[in-house]
């Protein structure tokens, strides 16, 4: 995965540079930029991005595919850090530091020191892993990082400039700064264990550190070199492998936690070295009380200790000896404490650990409060030091998501997450599941993925690179217990979404043991369009007894009959379920799923099922046979069998018209013509065939094989076939194995020709990868470093803003300064405009000058797109249309828009009537991703509707039209002023 990541920043670098100065007004609408951005991106990505991506392979189809990972690497244990004003926070991701905006929860910028070496290999990344960071106490805009390659870097994170790179020489594990020590940094570095211990064998643990005091000034000789040598550094003392390094608030004590000891040194007498205080267990983290001279540690047994040893018991004559200190123990955690943080007023201590519970200790009394069920083990706890407003706690979880907890209510206020993909973090399961839920929800153009807990699935939108929601398919206990026998949680095995996106079927199961019998559930979920979430409609217990469900597939919609679902199970049954509608006496009809038919074919076990495109036939692989069932009558219409393929693992309809059935055995691929009921061709693989992937709008399909390679590296061979011939069109190999693949809907990638297949897959290492010919995705925002020009000036939103958007009365200049730079970059059109942004910030023309050309560019694009939408009408939901209709009018009227008195009165009325309602728009803006009922209705609605509307035009457009001037779809509502937003709101609510 890191290999694939590399080109991304590079590629993004060139692009995001242009994109960075986004429109001032698009802050409140995180969902909209996508619509504007995507079509536009197609353009530059082909014309400009190809040259500067040295790492990416060329797009020759016969060579190895391009692929990229949608997941970020695992979360780092480095404590999170807030900027001084609390509007951004830093999170370490491997060798880079991501800067998140607190206001939007998005990555604003990434500080990436290896920028100049694009071909960085995995090794160098691992070596360059950042292990610690701190803000420069004398310059709040400077970030100091230390990394395992032995380098301390000083960044100006506002301008994203690497100021200094000082080579310490040994891997840096921790660093601490204090304002008493100007231009100095105290680092804990690894100490090579060369020496031989008393028993004669070398100390293999290498778990020794030493603490050094490093002056952040380069020697004269190296001052101009890229990597400089500090002018002065000396060692203070030696420790075991350190787990924390901190200064007391007054700066008079330096404390290192390492192994079973806390090392304390008085900074007034650093030469005296450390006094050691012994703890019964290995210490894992350290935090200092913000005002008083004591500190807290957490240890491996889950005990939090407060140490009151910073007094005259640390005396020069006592250094070197091991002592005991007066401590207070706070014990709640059953597992190791991973992080500690004191609140700014010093009254509370926050701790987190493997239990996924944030514990808030009231230090005065020892009472505790909990924020339970955060979803994944806690890795980091930080406290937002926002100068105004309510304090909130930021919790970094092991599944690479961040959770904000309000200090007042102790409720999770928001979650920042990307794909949570590794279920092993909380449940150390030795075996990989045979199948994972992986499908595409077309209505919202999201990807349905397994989440960080096996009983949950998540919805991820690749286009905006954002986690939309999570769905707990089966309620289960998430708390781990290390000592007991591991509970086997229910595991979602399959998830299928119907073609119209209204229904989802999931299968979750739990193996039985002595105490409990196994459970298998088939659950059917209906899509709540309004709220944008799935609700459980029907639960079918043990659809195939306790046997596995081998296939679940929805019947493509047909005019005559209601929706149907076919499942096959290891009990030999093929079951057809249908949607039944019962109209109640009242107005509404109730829908639920009932069994329609149960079919058996001899005693064969069905292993796969596939509907033809028109839904008239169901092909079921049954041992050596392929059974074709008529969908209406549920009758077996014919049985196909061929000597070439003695065992059919999977049979699927392929081709545009579903004329063919591809049957896959362990090594064979046989293509049947259903009309003639004859074998068209046969292909024999030299390696095992793992699965078949096809898309029903294309004549080509893919075969995934697992070559039996002797090398360690897993590879998957992908062969592309056309229905016309048994000769592969292309062959690619990929360096991983798949747990599941699904065809990528055509609109998602911006590859060259839309006919080429793109795949989404979950690899064995729980990466989600997108692969295909020339795939590109909208780039991650802030994937490279961008200057935070207004880092200190993030304007606080008011409730008014949350409801109506930013005020119109604010002058544009103020707005421009108010915008946070992160926002999804938006909609630029025209190369000259883009070039303007190539220049440094201080060379740019004033935003007032930029505004009109930019807005003009949107109008040009608007028209054709709208036609497409109208032509394609079907499937686009009403509200979507409404939005689009509203859009242009308001946008057009925007520049000369004035707020009249009557409009103000209307607004006042509206505000009065809306003030009581929950502030759903607040969440919309903040981008909450939890599919928590009605709250984020608007968010998911707009995110869902726009991609689909976009996908449609693209399929309709012939491939040849992929020119730079391809009409851009809906201009971003984000580009519109807040007034647009307010207007649409008002319309909706008033009408």
């Amino acid at each position: 995965m890191p290999v694939a990541v590399d080109p991304t920043p590079a590629m993004a670098a060139s692009k995001q540079k242009h994109a960075a100065p986004s429109l001032p007004t698009d802050i409140p609408l995180p969902d909209t930029p996508k619509t504007a951005k995507k079509p536009r991106k197609k353009q530059p990505s082909q014309t400009q991005d190809a040259p500067p991506t040295p790492g990416s392979s060329k797009s020759a189809p016969s060579s190895s595919w391009t692929w990229r990972s949608l997941t970020v690497s695992s979360s780092s244990r480095v404590p999170l850090l807030f900027t001084k004003d609390g509007s951004y926070f830093f999170s370490v991701n491997g060798p880079s530091v991501k800067i998140y905006s607190v206001a939007t929860g998005r990555v604003v910028s990434t500080l990436y020191p290896l920028q100049h070496t694009p071909a960085a290999d995995i090794d160098s990344e691992a070596r360059g892993t950042i292990t610690c960071m701190a803000l420069n106490p004398h310059n709040a805009y400077q970030l100091i990082t230390g990394s395992l390659d032995g380098v301390v870097r000083v960044w100006d994170f506002v301008d994203a400039v690497l100021l200094k790179t000082l080579d310490v020489g040994k891997p840096v594990h921790h660093l601490a700064v204090h304002e008493r020590f100007r231009d100095e940094v105290f680092v804990s570095v690894a100490r090579p264990a060369k020496r031989v211990n008393s028993k004669g064998n070398p100390t293999a643990n290498g778990d020794n550190n030493s603490v050094m005091r490093v002056v952040l000034k380069a020697t004269d000789a190296t001052v101009n070199l890229p990597v400089q040598t500090p002018s002065e550094s000396h060692t203070i003392g030696k420790t075991r492998g350190s787990s924390g390094l901190a200064f007391s608030p007054s700066g008079s004590w330096l404390v290192v936690t390492a192994g079973h000891k806390a090392y304390v040194a008085s900074t007034s007498n650093l030469k005296a070295g450390f006094t050691k205080f012994v703890s019964p267990d290995k210490l894992t983290c350290l935090a200092f009380h913000p005002s008083e001279e004591y500190f807290a540690t957490g240890d491996e047994k889950g005990v939090v200790r407060l140490w009151y040893c910073l007094n005259d018991s640390v005396s020069p004559e006592s250094t070197g000896t091991e002592k005991k200190a007066t401590t207070t123990t706070l014990h709640w955690h059953a597992h190791a404490v991973s992080s500690l943080a004191f609140t700014a007023n010093g009254a509370y201590l926050l701790t987190g650990g493997e239990e996924a519970v944030l514990v808030i200790w009231q230090l005065h009394t020892g009472k505790k409060e909990f924020v339970p069920r955060l979803g994944a083990p806690i890795i980091n706890v930080a406290i937002s030091n926002a100068t105004t407003g309510e304090e909130s706690y930021l919790v970094g979880l092991a599944d690479a998501s961040f959770v904000f907890v309000r200090s007042g209510t102790l409720k999770v206020s928001r979650t920042i997450a990307r794909i949570k993909i590794d279920p092993a973090i909380s449940n150390n399961r030795p075996t990989l599941p045979s199948s994972v839920p992986l499908t595409v929800h077309s209505l919202t153009s999201t990807l349905v993925l397994p989440s960080s807990h096996p009983s949950m699935i998540q919805m991820y939108s690749p286009t905006i690179a954002d986690l939309i929601s999570e769905l707990e398919v089966s309620p289960s206990n998430k708390i781990s217990r290390r000592d007991d026998k591991q509970l086997d949680p229910p595991r979602v095995e399959r998830a299928v979404v119907s073609e119209n996106g209204k229904w989802m079927a999931t299968v979750d199961s739990r193996a039985g043991d002595e105490a409990h019998r196994g459970e298998v559930y088939l659950k059917l979920w209906s899509w709540e369009k309004k709220g944008g979430y799935w609700t459980l409609n029907t639960r079918i217990d043990r659809p195939h007894g306790l046997k596995n469900v081998t296939a679940v597939t929805f019947r493509p919609p047909s005019e005559v009959s209601s929706l149907q679902l076919a499942t096959t199970g290891a009990d030999g049954a093929i079951k057809i379920w249908r949607l039944r509608q019962v109209s109640k006496e009242g107005k509404n009809t109730e829908e639920f799923w009932v069994a329609q038919a149960t079919l058996n074919f001899r005693s064969e076990i069905p292993s796969d099922a596939s509907w033809s495109l028109d839904g008239s036939l169901l092909a079921v692989s049954l041992g050596p046979y392929i059974g074709l069932y008529d969908a209406e009558t549920n009758m077996l219409s014919s049985v196909l069998t061929s000597p070439e393929c003695p065992l059919v693992n999977s049979a699927q309809f392929v081709g545009k018209s579903s004329r063919y059935v591809a049957a896959v055995g362990p090594r064979d691929l046989v293509l049947w013509d259903v009309v003639t009921q004859s074998v068209l061709w046969h292909y024999r693989s030299f390696s095992g065939i793992t699965r078949l992937a096809s898309r029903n709008d294309s004549d080509s399909f893919l075969l995934l094989e697992k070559p039996t390679s002797l090398t360690q590296s897993p590879t998957t061979k992908v062969t592309v076939f056309n229905t016309s011939s048994s000769t592969p069109i292309a062959t690619q190999s990929l360096p991983f194995h798949f747990l599941g693949v699904t065809a990528c809907p055509p609109g998602w990638t911006q590859g060259g020709e839309t006919s080429s297949l793109a795949l989404l897959g979950v690899t064995h290492s729980w990466n989600v990868v997108l692969l295909g010919d020339n795939i590109t995705l909208p780039d991650e925002i802030g994937a490279t470093h961008i200057g935070l020009r207004d880092a200190g000036a993030a304007v606080k939103r008011t409730l008014f803003d949350d409801i109506f958007g930013a005020s119109l009365f604010v002058s544009p200049s103020v707005q421009s300064s108010a915008q946070s730079p992160n926002v999804q970059s938006s909609s630029w059109k025209g190369k000259d405009v883009e070039r303007v942004f190539d220049a440094p910030a201080y060379l740019m023309p004033p935003l007032e000058a930029l505004f009109d050309p930019l807005v003009q560019s949107f109008f040009v694009e608007r028209g054709p797109e709208k036609k497409f939408v109208k032509d394609e009408g079907e499937g686009a939901d009403d509200r979507m249309d409404e939005d689009e209709k509203d859009g242009p009018i308001l946008v057009g009227s925007k520049p000369e828009r004035m707020v009249g008195k009557d409009e103000m009165a209307g607004l006042v009325n509206l505000f009065k009537s809306y003030a009581i309602r929950p502030s759903n728009t607040t969440i919309n803006i903040n981008g909450i991703h939890k599919a928590s009922a009605q709250i984020n209705g608007v968010t998911s609605h707009s995110t869902t509707s726009t991609p689909s509307s976009k996908a449609k035009p693209k399929t309709a457009v012939p491939p040849s039209t992929s020119k730079p001037s391809v009409p851009s779809p809906v201009p971003s509502p984000a580009a519109a002023s807040p007034g647009v937003r307010a207007g649409s709101k008002r319309k909706k609510s008033l009408g």
Binding site: S252, Y308, S313
Partner: protein, 912 residues
């Protein structure tokens, strides 16, 4: 033992003796220092450990004595029972307090001796009792005049005792001049006074000179106590609050309200006051609160316990608090300073309690060392609330000892050094572990004994095969049946090995008596043939003749005229005290092996009476008053030279001799070495032993004196030099009846040859060669027994080795020691090393064939001259009932605890 002769063990668990829960603990206070500052602010030398008073739910109070000598830093056995004050039957001890009888005479840097202390107890009723410690009886009682007494607290100067009463009043009793009179009563409030604590005394205002400044050079030490006046008193009440009373006016100064649940009243079970005036309270919600000394507002509140806090104690220097209660935890609170003082070398003693903003109390640690409610906790050295200007410091290199006790019946001792004091090496006086900080040091229990004076309450009739157990008011006798199977049933086992318990049905209960007693029974004995049973409370001895019924049961027949027989002999003589001597109670008994004679030691007057039982009616043959009088005492010791002088001296007639014996008045310590003055002393004979041939009688009292009497001639034989430690085990060697084995409380063993009136040479070697492991056993010796092989036909010629093998036992161990091994082999050191490993198994696996004993002797001797097993616990009693047949009476703690109400338990995880 030349060969590992198999020993079958009767592992008796049927004895339903139930120890009594601990309800109160007390250490003696220290007297107040001089007001004139510097002189006694710091205690520089090591304090002698004071007497620990343990009050039980059955009314008994045990006074425990530290086993370490003055020069010894550590005493593994810690405190052993010196005296048992037998409470009235169905009384209880809810609170205990020591005061100093004459505070002016006790230097403030010395632990007051037991003789200068007064002991008060209250038992839930209206009356406060003062005990006569020497005689073991209640000296006087006084009614509270306010209903049930809930709490008692002596003031720091030991001049006033405050009683907290049921009716909400606090009564002050004056203790001046050894009196006990009502002094005054404070205003009544509408709640019970559950707990009391005195605030720090203030230097008396009336003193013309300033207290701190030492301008006056004259030292009038005589009226030290007069320099202090009491300031205030704080009481924990049953209506969710604490009240602070002004001692001068008797009015409530402040009222401090604690947390309360809705509709319930919080009970403030315990309260404490520090030298700076800080008040600490513990209540029924489990909350420990610290209250500001000046404003009486809450400073800290800790939800330290899950259930009621019942007791607290304050560390000697007032820098730590320990609280305990129903949830079985002991929680430590520490006073910490979180910032560096301006000068890091500031003197700690003044800054410790200086109330600066950076110092505060933190809840630092909690330990769970009890399995049931903790009722009482105390610490030595005791804390005296003294104003900061006069605050005491203690030597930093000795850890204080925290004692706690409760319903699980054992006192738990923990060294309680604070981690901040770890600059020097701190000695752990309990020698449980090297570290002495309370967090990390090992704790230990003081095992309970089933009888008074640390004796066993169980006795055995060998020939009658009866086991007898004496409880508070009842006696039970069981019969141990002979094993039917004979040889094959006896699985070969050595004492050292894990024995197979005898099959079920090997015993039956043959007698169960509940007696009408005045105080709890203190002693009992059963004759060897099982025909006589004698029990006694403090006031009356009851003798029974046991007759076997056909169904195997025993029928007791009380010998009614024993009291009248005894009375003339214990009736007050001219010079002895009048009232108490009427008591015919016995403190210890012994039957001669042929069951023809009974030796009785009277409880109050410590006469030894030899009673002939062979006739129709018991007849007193002789009365010895050697224990009653201060014979042989030099200081408090019997000195060897003098003993020899006496022993080799002329006297055959003991009564006459005693008059001539050199003696010292006990009160005049060290002043006179000799005097002709013979005065009665108050002592109790605690141990008694007769030799197997019935010739010798050894008696030992709690002044550590041991007298030997010749029962054939019924005459006093000699007095032994006394040892610094009380004698816990006393027995004559069966094989050589004139050899007396003494096991001392500090787990040393002495051997005395009675006929030669000397310690044999080999015994000195033995005393020196006792392994350290044995000496460091935490539980002191309780008894010694010998594998008598007189009746055993199977045993070959009784070799001297076997004959001189003694089996000592304590409450958790049984140890076999070959007494003369030191001479033969040269010590035990090697054996100890072998013990831990698996070698023991090897010994069992390959016992040598019979008859090869002579060749194998050195090997087996080396393996067998010291063996320690800890398989059985807690042991109430161990005795060879016949050759190779050991009765071990166990009382597993689980069985005992099962009879108590269920302990507080809160599941760690899970529902509710």
């Amino acid at each position: 033992m030349t060969e590992p002769k198999p020993i079958s063990v009767h592992r008796c668990r049927f004895v339903d003796f139930t120890p009594s829960p601990i309800t109160a603990l007390a250490f003696p206070p220290l007297s107040l220092p001089s007001v004139k500052g510097k002189k006694s602010a710091a205690i520089r030398k090591r304090l002698a450990f004071g007497t620990l008073a343990v009050g039980h739910a059955n009314g008994n109070i045990e006074l425990c004595e530290w086993t370490g000598l003055e020069h010894e830093q550590q005493a593994p056995q810690a405190w052993v029972v010196k005296k048992t004050l037998s409470g009235l039957y169905t009384s209880k001890v809810d609170s205990l307090a020591f005061t100093i009888r004459d505070p002016d005479l006790v230097p403030s840097d010395q632990t007051p001796a037991l003789s200068s202390l007064r002991l008060f107890s209250a038992g839930g009723g209206n009356d406060l009792a003062e005990w006569d410690i020497e005689r073991g009886v209640i000296r006087r009682t006084i009614s509270s005049q306010g209903g049930s007494i809930w709490s008692i607290a002596p003031n720091p100067a030991s001049t006033i005792l405050a009683l907290g009463c049921e009716d909400g009043s606090i009564h002050l009793l004056s203790l001046e001049l050894d009196s006990l009179t009502h002094l005054r009563r404070f205003d009544r409030v509408k709640s019970r006074i559950l707990s009391l604590a005195w605030g720090p005394p203030v230097p008396r205002e009336s003193q013309p000179k300033a207290a701190e400044t030492n301008e006056d050079s004259d030292d009038d030490d005589d009226d030290l106590a007069e320099d202090w006046s009491d300031s205030w008193l704080v009481a924990g009440c049953s209506d969710s609050c604490l009240r602070k009373w002004d001692v001068a006016s008797g009015r409530v100064l402040d009222r401090m309200a604690t947390d309360k649940n809705k509709g319930e009243r919080t009970l403030v079970w315990t309260v404490g006051a520090l030298g700076d005036g800080t008040i600490i309270s513990g209540d029924s919600l489990g909350v420990v609160k610290f209250w500001d000394p000046k404003t009486c507002t809450q400073m800290h509140s800790f939800q330290a316990h899950n259930a009621d806090v019942l007791c607290m104690t304050i560390s000697p220097e007032g820098s730590a608090i320990y609280t305990a209660g129903v949830d079985q935890k002991i929680v430590q609170f520490t006073h910490v300073r979180t910032s560096q003082p301006a000068s890091s070398q500031a003197p700690t003693k003044t800054s410790l309690l200086n109330r600066s903003s950076t110092s505060r109390w933190v809840q630092s640690f909690a330990r769970r060392m009890h399995s049931h409610d903790i009722r009482s906790i105390c610490i030595f050295p005791p804390h005296t609330p003294l104003p900061p200007s006069h605050s005491r410091t203690f030597p930093a290199d000795v850890a204080p000892i925290l004692a706690s006790g409760g319903l699980d019946m054992s006192v738990v001792l923990t060294p309680a050094a604070l981690p901040t004091n770890t600059k020097n090496k701190i000695v752990n006086p309990l020698s449980t572990s090297h570290v002495a900080t309370w967090e990390d040091a090992y704790h230990r229990k003081i095992g309970y004994s089933s009888g008074a004076y640390g004796r066993s309450g169980v006795c055995v009739a060998r020939a009658g095969r009866l086991v007898c157990c004496v409880r508070e008011a009842g006696v039970s006798v069981w019969r141990i049946k002979k094993r039917g199977g004979g040889g094959d049933g006896e699985e070969g086992m050595d004492v050292d090995e894990v024995p197979v318990p005898k099959e079920d049905g090997g015993w039956e209960r043959v007698l169960d008596m509940e007696l009408n007693v005045q105080s709890n029974l203190i002693a009992g004995a059963i004759s060897d043939d099982g025909r006589w049973l004698i029990v006694s409370d403090w006031y009356e001895t009851k003798l029974f003749r046991l007759e076997s019924l056909p169904n195997g049961q025993l029928k007791p027949k009380r010998i009614r005229n024993l009291t009248s027989v005894l009375q003339p002999h214990v009736s007050p003589s001219a010079k002895s005290h009048s009232r108490e001597s009427i008591s015919t109670g016995g403190s210890t008994f012994a039957f001669t092996p042929d069951s023809s004679k009974l030796v009785l030691a009277t409880s109050v007057s410590a006469y030894i009476l030899v009673i002939d039982l062979s006739g129709d009616a018991p007849r007193v043959l002789r009365k010895f008053d050697h224990h009653h009088l201060n014979t042989g005492l030099v200081g408090q010791r019997v000195v060897k030279g003098l003993a020899k002088l006496q022993a080799t001296g002329t006297g055959e007639d003991a009564t006459e001799k005693s008059a001539e014996t050199v003696g010292v008045d006990k009160e005049d310590e060290d002043t006179e070495s000799t005097s002709g003055d013979v005065r009665p002393v108050s002592t109790t004979v605690t141990r008694m032993a007769t030799s197997l041939d019935g010739q010798w009688l050894a008696t030992s009292d709690d002044l550590h004196r041991t007298h030997i009497f010749n029962l054939d001639s019924i005459q006093h034989h000699c007095i032994l030099p006394s040892f610094p430690h009380p004698i816990h085990a006393l027995a004559f060697l069966p094989s050589s009846p004139s050899t007396l084995i003494l096991g001392l409380a500090n787990n040393t063993v002495q051997v005395y040859d009675v006929e030669a009136r000397s310690f044999p040479a080999w015994s000195r070697h033995l005393a020196n060669a006792i392994p350290k492991r044995f000496k460091h056993l935490h539980d002191p010796i309780v008894g010694v027994t010998f594998n008598t092989n007189g009746t055993s036909s199977s045993s070959s010629s009784p070799s001297t080795d076997e004959a001189r093998t003694a089996v000592f036992w304590g409450s958790t161990w049984i140890c076999k020691i070959q007494l003369d091994a030191g001479v033969v082999y040269g010590g035990f050191e090697k054996k100890r090393r072998r013990d831990g490993s698996g070698k023991k198994r090897k010994d069992v696996a390959a016992p040598p064939p019979e008859g090869e004993d002579t060749e194998q002797q050195p090997l087996y001797q080396s393996a067998n001259n010291f063996k320690l097993i800890t398989t059985y616990r807690p042991i109430l009693f161990a005795e060879f009932i016949a050759s190779g047949e050991l009765v071990v009476v166990e009382r597993p703690l689980v069985d005992v605890l099962a009879k108590l109400p269920p302990a507080y338990f809160k599941p760690k995880y899970g529902a509710s």
